[in-house]
Amino acid sequence: MTSVSSIGQFSYCKPGSLQETLKIMAEKGAGARILAGGTDLILQIKQKQKSPSLVVDVKGIGELNRLEYTEALGLCIGAAVPLSKILSFPIVSEKYSMLYQACSVIGSMQIRNRGSLGGNICNAAPSADSAPALLCLGAKVIIASGKKTRIVNLDDFFVGPGITRLEHDELLIEIEIPNPPKQSAGCYLRHTTREEMDISVAGVAAYIELFPELKVPKEVRIAMSAVASTPLRAHSAEALLVDRPITEKTIEQAAQTTVDETKPISDVRASAEYRREIVKVLTKRALRKDCEMLGIDIQG
């Protein structure tokens, strides 16, 4: 028994209802941490980056474990649903393939069996692999506290590394991803040093939605991870591509503009310069892939 080490000083509770959870959060504030999959939190506690006095296990809360699709609302993913469950929900690979791609590269099989999409978002690492795809798909997050419930566009959710718009007494309930229009396609590409089990050097998601009868983009969304203090959209680059046919030239321009919108740092994984190179390459590749999926012939 003396061989067992404590990873921290905290007590544990597993509330049975959302109401109970919100009450605890209101009382404990920053001293409490939400535990879903634990693949980020337990690691951070071990590395002394977080020192909660209470760990609140939300895996028993019905509202956080919903996984549903309706034509009207699109895909609703409870914050605590593990990535592996999302990946085996058929509608995800059928209609949300870019989200499928993103979730399938996070960690390993073991990590995905525990780690949740909600956790990946709330951990708010700049390199969060799920974020670019979710941003492109127009995801919204549903947040609740004892006082109110609100819906926030994911675009407005990330503030800085590890920081989101969640207040201390607020809980992420669900991620809502609208139904992608028929003439749309998206993909997520990322670069790592190893094939698997690696934190991205850079990740790019690109999404194209065409006008109903034309092979011309009505909406383009490009989002990136690991190249700024938060995952972010490349709005200027997007603007270059809408309302006109896609050409190699515009793809090239959009890729360069995407790079201009990044603010990468140099760290143990890669230099800022390399990250910029990768963003350019991945943006081009992602856009070309989208065009292929949409049957667009890219003009010179």
Binding site: T2, H191, T193, R194, E196, M197, I199, R269, E277, V281
Partner: protein
């Protein structure tokens, strides 16, 4: 291999069952009643003087049973810190790398031990760290150890004008006339290559448990070590006890690769066990392993090579510098002498090698020490020369290959070796493979040499009353040696594998064994085992002859019986012989004895061919195929030999493409597997193996060394492949995607 019935067969490991069911015991699995837990307090500085160590608050903490520092270690008395070979270096008056142990706490729980470590107060005076080997070698760089002189670590220098130095060892070897040799050449290539420090990456972190007897005069230790007897000696010295007062109990080892000959924990556990009279356990976290469990050294290697237009190497002048880190004791220059350029015939050669101190984590031996580093340089240079000649890389090597009777650079005359045969086998194999095509694809060829070592070993064999045979050895099994020696015993006695058991005894009961290093284990241990078998068989023959009414000379062994040759009716079970010998008229138990030392090694070579595809926009490398051919002399167990070759290649791939330490002022920054990248299954292809069997004249059945040769050529093979795929010539490692992309962009300009 119709010659043998068990030797040469693909036999599953005899220890595999315990491993696939989780019942195999490793150091960290041992638990004893009343066990204390110990934790190390470590230096936060890469280079500093120690002014004062205050352990009072730690000692006063409830649950703490002992705190030790260097002053408490009997083995340190009257001995300089330079001479603590492979023992824990608790800092005495200075620390020479970040994370160096300074004190150790033993407490009733891990949590209390950790808390107590935080209460130890050490007053340091920080010193500027020496970080680069070339800087360190300069005469005006202050020596890290004021009493260390090159090559005179264990005694004062004879030259009164000698000055202290950061060059711990310097080796020089060569022959011929370099000037004449270079004059004879049609072109001369000179290049400098660098390699990075890398960790062995054994999955099992260090752990140890020690227990003292009632009066503290003897201690029993369980820990991972590549040699229980060498470990025993080290611990005994550390404790100031006679060697036989320490008993090392064998446990399974979760990977070693040369990195577990030194003992960072066991001696500390043993001392604390004696001090507290309670069992003591220690373990290292992965972070501690990456900060303190010694890696392979980085190196800077310069080769100047002269070649004629016909493809003959006329002269080589080479300098190999190894970054020793903060301690001088694990010299790599001593391996350079026998392992560098030895597979080639070079009439005029000079090799200089240096071990140089810096204020970084000290190094230890990793699979073919010094040699993957030297061969990154040598085999890249060979490739460059072949290109200059417009010659096929294997052809160029064949033109310059040494054969039996040639003199190696070390002065050694080569015994029978299989270098030529292995190169030819690879050339033949590549003819059957499609040649590699594509703008971003390339094939790389390289060879890797390993001289090998031998060691001294004992073995005894019990012929049991049920007719089974038990072999007792003291050998740490790192590469499947238990299974291979079981195969030898089965072969020699004509028994099935199920009737043979191998027991690895502790140091109290087993015969002496050298450490399992240098790929020496099966190579030379097999002699001792073979001799023990013959000894036992002679005894059995003497017992059988009168019973069968035949002469001793016609007795053979088959199917668990002693049988008269040509007369199968005349047979008697081994069980009956063993039992009868125990009776009043018997000769006593049948015990065979075997012992060996001084066996000359059987040098071997491995040849690699790797096909890669490079994404020219990201620099990412995909390995399309990998094949390695190795002269293994004779494979006792091809399944095991293949596994060794494949594992070595995978380590080389990691070394070449993704591994490495990130240092900041000498402090390791990537201290977890998140940022020290080992290859995953998705990074490695199937690794094809070609076993070449040019029997040695010294190994039993013609054995050679298996475990180390196959890592040596991997680094250059990949560099050569990447060169062929991209035009980028790498002279430093690792070849990460970022580095490759940078290289491609520079080539474009």
């Amino acid at each position: 291999m119709a010659k043998y019935s068990v030797v040469g067969k693909r036999v599953p490991r005899i220890d595999a069952l315990s491993k696939v069911t989780g019942s195999a015991i490793y150091s960290g699995d041992i638990s004893l009643p009343g066990m204390l837990h110990a934790k190390i307090a470590r230096s936060p500085y890469a280079h500093a003087l120690i002014k004062r160590i205050d352990i009072s608050k730690a000692l006063a903490l409830d649950g703490v049973k002992a705190v030790i520092t260097a002053d408490d270690i009997p083995g340190y008395k009257n001995r300089s810190p330079l001479l603590l070979v492979e023992m824990p270096h608790l800092a005495q008056d200075k620390v020479t790398y970040e994370s160096q142990p300074v004190a150790v706490v033993a407490a009733i729980s891990k949590d209390i031990a950790e808390k107590a470590v935080g209460l130890i107060k050490v007053e340091y005076e920080e010193l500027p760290p020496v970080l680069d080997v070339l800087e360190s070698m300069k005469p005006d760089t202050p020596p890290i150890y004021p009493n260390l002189y090159t090559n005179f670590i264990s005694r004062p220098p004879t030259d009164v004008n000698a000055r202290p130095s950061n060059i711990a060892y310097h080796m020089s070897v060569g022959r011929g006339d370099l000037d004449a040799g270079f004059k004879e050449a049609d072109f001369v290539l000179e290049n400098t290559f660098q390699t990075q420090p890398v960790h062995h990456g054994y999955l099992e972190p260090f752990a140890a448990v020690a227990k003292a007897n009632v009066d503290g005069s003897k201690v029993t230790v369980w820990t991972q070590t590549q040699g229980v007897f060498s470990a025993r000696g080290m611990i005994a010295e550390f404790l100031g006890l006679p060697a036989t007062h320490v008993n090392m109990v064998p446990v399974e080892i979760g990977g070693a690769f040369g990195g577990k000959s030194f003992l960072p924990l066991a001696p500390l556990c043993a001392l604390l066990a004696i001090k507290t009279r309670q069992p003591v356990r220690m373990e290292m976290s992965r972070e501690e392993v990456l900060k303190d469990a010694r890696p392979a050294p980085g190196s800077v290697n310069t080769i100047k090579m002269g070649v004629t237009r016909q493809g003959k190497i006329t002269a080589v002048s080479a300098r190999f510098i190894y970054d020793a880190g903060g301690f001088p004791e694990m010299s790599h220059t001593m391996f350079v002498r026998g392992n560098t350029f030895a597979q080639y015939k070079i009439p005029n050669i000079n090799i200089e090698a240096y071990d140089v101190l810096t204020n970084k984590i000290p190094v230890t031996y990793y699979r073919a020490p010094s040699t993957p580093q030297s061969h990154f340089a040598i085999e890249s240079q060979m490739d460059l020369a072949a290109k200059e000649l417009g010659m096929d890389p294997i052809q160029f090597r064949l033109l310059n290959t040494a054969v039996e009777g040639d003199t190696a650079p070390s002065g050694e005359i080569l015994p029978k070796v299989g270098y030529k045969e292995t190169l030819e086998k690879m050339a033949d194999y590549l003819k059957t493979k499609r040649s590699i095509k594509g703008a971003n694809r390339g094939r790389g060829i390289a060879s890797g040499f390993w001289h090998g070592a031998a060691g001294s070993w004992g073995a005894y064999v019990n012929v049991n009353i049920d007719g089974t045979v038990t072999l007792v050895i003291g050998v740490t099994d790192v590469s499947g040696s238990r299974t291979s020696v079981a195969q030898i015993v089965a072969e020699e006695f004509g028994l099935p594998m199920e009737s043979v058991s191998v027991v690895v005894g502790d140091t109290d009961t087993a015969p002496w064994a050298s450490p399992s290093v240098g790929s020496q284990t099966i190579y030379s241990l097999s002699h001792a085992v073979y001799r023990a078998c013959q000894d036992a068989k002679e005894q059995l023959k003497r017992l059988a002859a009168p019973r069968l009414g035949v002469d001793i000379s016609v007795i053979e062994f088959a199917g668990g019986h002693a049988v008269a040759k040509g007369d199968p009716q005349k047979s008697i079970p081994l069980a009956a012989l063993a039992r009868s010998s125990l009776g009043f008229r018997g000769e006593g138990p049948v015990v065979g004895r075997g012992s060996i030392a001084g066996l000359p090694p059987a040098p071997s070579i491995a040849v690699h061919a790797v096909d890669v595809e490079v994404d020219k926009e990201t620099g990412k490398v995909k390995i399309l195929s990998y094949v390695v051919a190795q002269d293994i002399g004779l494979a006792i167990n091809p399944l095991s030999v293949e596994g060794q070759m494949q594992g070595a290649v995978a380590q080389g791939i990691g070394w070449a493409l993704m591994e490495g330490y990130v240092f900041d002022q000498g402090k390791v920054q990537n201290t977890s597997f998140l940022d020290y990248r080992l290859p995953t299954a998705a990074d490695i292809p199937m690794i094809d193996t070609i076993l070449v069997e040019v029997n040695s004249t010294t190994g039993i059945y013609g054995l050679r060394h298996v475990g180390e040769p196959p890592i040596v050529g991997t680094l250059a093979a990949l560099a050569n492949a990447i060169h062929n795929a991209t035009g980028v010539r790498f002279k430093s490692l690792p070849m990460t995607p970022e580095a490759i992309l940078k290289g491609i962009q520079q080539v474009k300009k």
